[in-house]
Symmetry: C2
């Protein structure tokens, strides 16, 4: 069955979408069958694959409220073994609409359950908050990947995210655990980057991926072409880092 | 009465907190009486002034649910005419707790109403979402300042934010209008920065501030010292840009 990984961090702009999109693409070219779920009303993971939000009449929102099944909402991408479950702005309504409903935290888990055999990996791109959408992804997932920008505010928010994961593990999903912390936008010329990186590696010695993602402008250019970076410029440092990360994940998965 | 400005953008990591903190400080050194309201459960604007979240037994959450008045929650900062209304993690609960309550969108407006004569400017740092907390700030405010990172995803989210502002103007707060769009993390060596900047200036010719904030590492270092950048390194380009922005805002306010 698929390994379901929530890519989560309530701190904004730390590289959640960039990681979900480019790690999914890197796993796909390593012959893994991958589903990327866009659980952010901003729809950035969807537009990263060239899907224009306005063109979507059905998306993950319709799956969460029980109107549609996952395989009706899934769309192919340019990579043969990579499938996208898109979202758009209307998803914002789900948080308020589901607030009073039964099993409001298990909606995504129910939606994905029939698709666990169809994929090797399911990556969920979370919005920048610890609200009901992120909670749904922490219940549906067995692993959490935390992108961590090498900046002060990002480091500050880490403890609150880790205690939320612990809380969900104890109350809603006993399988959930941290897969790893990914250092993103690492700038080797910048003292702050080094300070944050060494602080995180000393606090969480076994939880930080060996691969760190460098700051690389090609990563921020590729979404405007509707392509993951390995289809835009596979030789750049950003693409290479995500290909390396995919290998590290595959190796870690086979060890456990 | 105070000019109340919501610093908002649902896109994460675009410089909302950095702008709210450093613009507030720059207005304060220009002899304006300023209140900065931290409306983000992450509490970044609070820690930017050295307030440790765990030390707070009362904060903006207690004001929103009607337990405390604003002036009981306000705290001084190192700048004589700058006051902070702090937040911390528990604020997350407010979104779900207020969801079913009457006047759930007007809680912040009610909290700030008795303080409008005590300040010249009230700046509200919003979380990265269009949920109930940001909605509260759009109802309490008369102006919205939109920090816009010079990147593709940030540009994509702009139209959805502008239509939310329009919706709030028509339904909940007829006074609300855009004060301006602030280009942030502008890197003059980077083609994407120039592309986004020229696209925004051509779509919104009258709405983009003349001042653009350059990418400047001193801005990301200063929060770790609990100081706004003008108290950390007033000569740096980041500090100078926010001082310039404050002058631009003061000049625009006197024209209208
Ligand atoms: N390693 C990198 N190098 C350069 N730019 C990057 C890198 N990673 C991400 N970016 C850019 O930084 C911005 C923030 O990244 P991204 O949108 O992936 O973060 P996020 O955590 O998903 O944001 P949000 O909290 O809004 O969902 C984007 O414009 C993206 O293109
Ligand atoms: N002009 C700048 N130059 C360099 N770094 C900056 C600049 N502006 C902000 N930063 C850094 O970029 C990161 C994101 O900025 P900030 O936290 O202010 O954004 P935000 O929109 O408030 O994020 P969130 O969506 O999480 O609330 C922070 O680590 C901050 O220190
Ligand atoms: Mg994202
Ligand atoms: Mg912020």
């Amino acid at each position: 069955a698929a390994r379901v990984i929530a890519v989560a961090n309530q701190k904004g702009g730390v590289g959640k979408t960039t990681t979900a999109v480019n790690l999914a693409a890197s796993l796909a070219v390593a012959e893994k069958r991958v589903l990327i779920v866009d659980l952010d009303p901003q729809g950035n993971a969807s537009s990263a694959f060239g899907i224009a939000a306005e063109s979507l009449s059905e998306h993950v929102y319709h799956g969460l409220i029980g109107e549609k099944e996952a395989h009706h909402l899934e769309r192919p991408t340019e990579l043969a073994t990579l499938t996208l479950l898109p979202s758009q702005r209307d998803l914002i309504g789900a948080e308020l609409e589901l607030a009073g409903e039964p099993e409001r935290e298990q909606r995504l888990e129910k939606l994905l359950a029939p698709r666990l055999e169809a994929f090797d990996y399911i990556l969920i791109d979370c919005p920048p908050s610890l609200g009901l959408l992120t909670l749904n992804s922490l219940v549906a997932a067995s692993r959490v990947l935390i992108p961590l920008q090498c900046e002060y505010y990002a480091l500050e928010g880490l403890s609150s995210l880790l205690s939320t994961i612990e809380l969900v593990n104890q109350s809603l999903n006993s399988e959930l655990r941290l897969d790893g912390i990914l250092l993103t936008m690492f700038d080797s010329r910048n003292r702050l980057s080094h300070q944050v990186a060494s602080e995180v590696r000393s606090y969480f010695p076994n939880d930080v991926y060996k691969t760190a993602i460098p700051r690389n402008v090609r990563l921020s250019e590729s979404p405007s072409f509707g392509k993951p970076v390995l289809l835009y410029d596979v030789t750049c440092r950003g693409a290479q880092a995500y290909l390396e990360l995919a290998q590290e994940l595959i190796a870690r998965a086979s060890q456990r």
